[in-house]
């Protein structure tokens, strides 16, 4: 029972983490915290087979995601860890370092059409544990360097003489790193606070400034498999203006933002910010018949996007679905409930 106590204590601690943060931290920090949570689960929970480990991780992960269902990153990290477990399992049963099994065609059919039978082979759980922990450490490392690796690709996408437009530069860690490593000649940042290291313009000036812009670089909150992107509210204006003037739009995101879920209507998922950001509380009585909305995210459809930059690759929106199968395992996301 000691492990049950340990697991529930971990659960309490992570829930406390969510309550303590008044302002939402950056996505990368959230992703790291999630990976730590799953890492602790792997380390302290009690299990004999890989199936049990997967069940434990999934139970805890889904519970957490149900409590905070606007944070896709929770589930993304769960899927990453589950993939790690399955890979580790496969490596051990096949007894080689080759992670890509030479499955014959029959296995293809089996895997595509039937969820595989539970793994009957007994795995050395200690070996599994250490293998998965190593994997999680690698994934954490990838998150830490993701901003830098994205910025390294800047040289391929931009030249020094480019005029670049971006959105709310000072609020995105990825973008800040991007532009600090790559000094373009002129940077316009829309709707930013005046201290940002760029020319700050307001959203009414987007169309007139777009005539002078040669590239638009933006940060994504989530990347969906059909190539569309969830981005901070207001980004849609920039993208539509860019389409109007045929300016290429580049979205940057670490792999932890790849979400294997389709969102047909963003209204169900959109997070509302504080209404007092829009209408100060002192004015509330005067406008008592007005309903104040403050949606925090926009859904940018795939046809407005030219390129998606992750830390390992640059892909057109049509091919983003290939990244999904790189990071997540088919069985885990195929049977996802919302």
């Amino acid at each position: 029972m000691a492990d049950q106590v340990a697991v529930s204590r971990l659960r309490d601690r992570v829930n406390l983490y969510f309550h303590k943060t008044a302002v939402r931290e950056s996505s990368s920090k959230l992703a790291l915290r999630m990976l730590s949570f799953f890492e602790d689960l792997v380390r302290y929970a009690h299990y004999e087979t890989a199936e049990q480990l997967i069940a434990i991780l999934r139970a805890e992960g889904e519970l957490l995601y149900a409590a905070h269902s606007n944070e896709f990153i929770i589930r993304n990290m769960l899927l990453v860890v589950l993939r790690g477990v399955r890979d580790e399992c496969l490596t051990q049963t096949s007894g080689s370092d080759d992670t890509l099994p030479q499955a014959d065609s029959l296995n293809h059919f089996q895997r595509l059409w039937f969820l595989p039978a539970p793994n009957q082979v007994q795995i050395n759980s200690a070996q599994l544990r250490s293998g998965v922990l190593d994997f999680i450490k690698e994934m954490k490392e990838e998150i830490n360097v993701s901003a830098e690796m994205i910025s390294n690709q800047a040289g391929h996408q931009l030249v020094k003489t480019d005029t670049v437009m971006t959105y709310k530069l000072s609020q995105s860690g990825t973008l800040k790193k991007f532009f600090s490593l790559f000094r373009a000649k002129t940077i316009y940042s829309v709707d930013d606070d005046p201290s940002a290291p760029a020319n700050v313009i307001s959203s009414v000036e987007i169309l007139s400034t777009m005539k002078l812009t040669t590239r638009v670089v933006l940060s994504a909150a989530a990347i969906l498999p059909d190539g569309s992107v969830v981005a901070p509210a207001g980004t849609l204006n920039v993208c539509l203006a860019a389409k109007r003037h045929s300016v290429p739009v580049v979205f940057c995101a670490g792999y932890y933002k790849l979400t294997p879920m389709f969102i047909p209507h963003l209204d169900e998922f959109n997070v509302q910010g504080r209404p007092t950001d829009v209408l100060p509380a002192s004015e509330a009585l005067k406008f008592s018949n007005v309903s104040v909305a403050n949606p925090l995210f926009d859904l940018i459809p795939a046809h407005l996007i030219t390129l998606v930059l992750t830390q390992s690759s640059a892909k057109t929106p049509l091919h983003v679905y290939r990244l999904i199968s790189d990071y997540y395992h088919l069985e885990d996301f195929r049977q996802l409930d919302r």
């Binding site: 014959d104 065609s105 029959l106 293809h108 059919f109 595509l112 059409w113 039937f114 498999p225 059909d226 190539g227 389709f262 047909p264 209507h265 169900e268 049509l318 091919h319 679905y321 290939r322 195929r334 919302r338």
Partner: protein, 284 residues
């Protein structure tokens, strides 16, 4: 579905005493079925995939000297195949549920069992929406679809095929079934589908296609004339009017992938671009 079931029965009966004989018998049965008038893209792709699925028995089992055991194996795999296909529609219906909200106006074309089942499932989960069905001449199959929808209490309106342009501005989403899904990501469906898809694209309405995985066909058509005739016309028409097909009306058309938004299959939800990859996995 019936085609497959009869094939499995065939596998249980044959006089062949070698594996090669059995495979030849099965292929003959397939050819026979292709020659009937009921043959369509679906039956053809399903037969092909069934053949592949049953014949890919692992090598150890084939070496077994007891041929009866091998035949049993074939029949068993045939039954497994059938069971999986029967589940396809409910898997698709489950995948489709998040796409339907309340008070949505849905447009669909002709009679499709997959679309019917998905809409019924959404209704059973409490969504209230309005469906517009095209009449879809020449066989008026849209009427059957509207009947079935009305029977389960879904508000349905039957519209003329020519009224699609008129109604499109008030539609929220467009849903098609498919008779075949091509390697390009495009679909073969009842004639008229292409027109509706183009109209939807022009007015920015999302188009979703629902198809089971047995409908995946390994063809790569580039335009309408590129699509093989065996998908467009019935077998009897092809036989009798082999050289004078210009006077015949095709029964299906090919909708290219750029007019489709998403394909919902029992293997998951895909963009048209991703379908080619999945097809390769099924056919290798």
């Amino acid at each position: 579905m019936e085609a497959i079931k009869s094939k499995v029965n065939d596998a249980g009966k044959p006089q062949a005493s070698t594996v090669q004989g059995l495979t030849k018998d099965l292929s003959n049965a397939v050819d026979e079925m292709m020659r009937t008038d009921r043959s369509s893209a679906t039956v053809q792709s399903a037969c092909e995939l069934f053949l592949r699925f049953s014949s890919l028995i692992s090598q150890e089992k084939l070496i077994d000297a007891n041929f009866e055991a091998v035949k049993c194996e074939y029949v068993k795999r045939g039954n497994v195949f059938i069971k999986r296909i029967e589940k396809s529609r409910s898997i698709i219906a489950k995948c489709f549920r998040p796409f339907i909200r309340s008070n949505l106006k849905v447009l669909t074309h002709s009679y499709s069992k997959v679309v019917l089942e998905s809409l019924l499932e959404s209704k059973a989960h409490g969504c209230v929406f309005h469906v517009f069905v095209t009449e879809s001449q020449p066989d008026n199959s849209g009427r059957r679809m509207a009947e079935k929808l009305r029977q389960s209490g879904i508000q349905t309106t039957l519209i003329l095929d020519s009224a699609v342009g008129y109604i499109m501005e008030s539609i929220d989403i467009v849903v098609f079934g498919a008779e075949g899904v091509m390697e390009t990501g495009g679909i073969i469906n009842k004639i008229g589908t292409l027109g509706i898809a183009i109209c939807a694209k022009a007015m920015n309405k999302p188009v979703y296609v629902m198809a089971e995985s047995i409908k995946f066909i390994k063809e790569y058509p580039l335009n309408q004339s590129d699509t093989p005739n065996k998908f467009k016309y019935r077998y009897s028409t092809l036989e009798s009017k082999k050289d004078a097909l210009d006077d015949e009306h095709p029964l299906t058309d090919y909708t290219p992938p750029q007019y489709l938004n998403l394909l919902i299959t029992d293997l998951g939800i895909f963009t048209p671009a991703a379908v080619g990859d999945e097809l390769i996995k099924l056919y290798t």
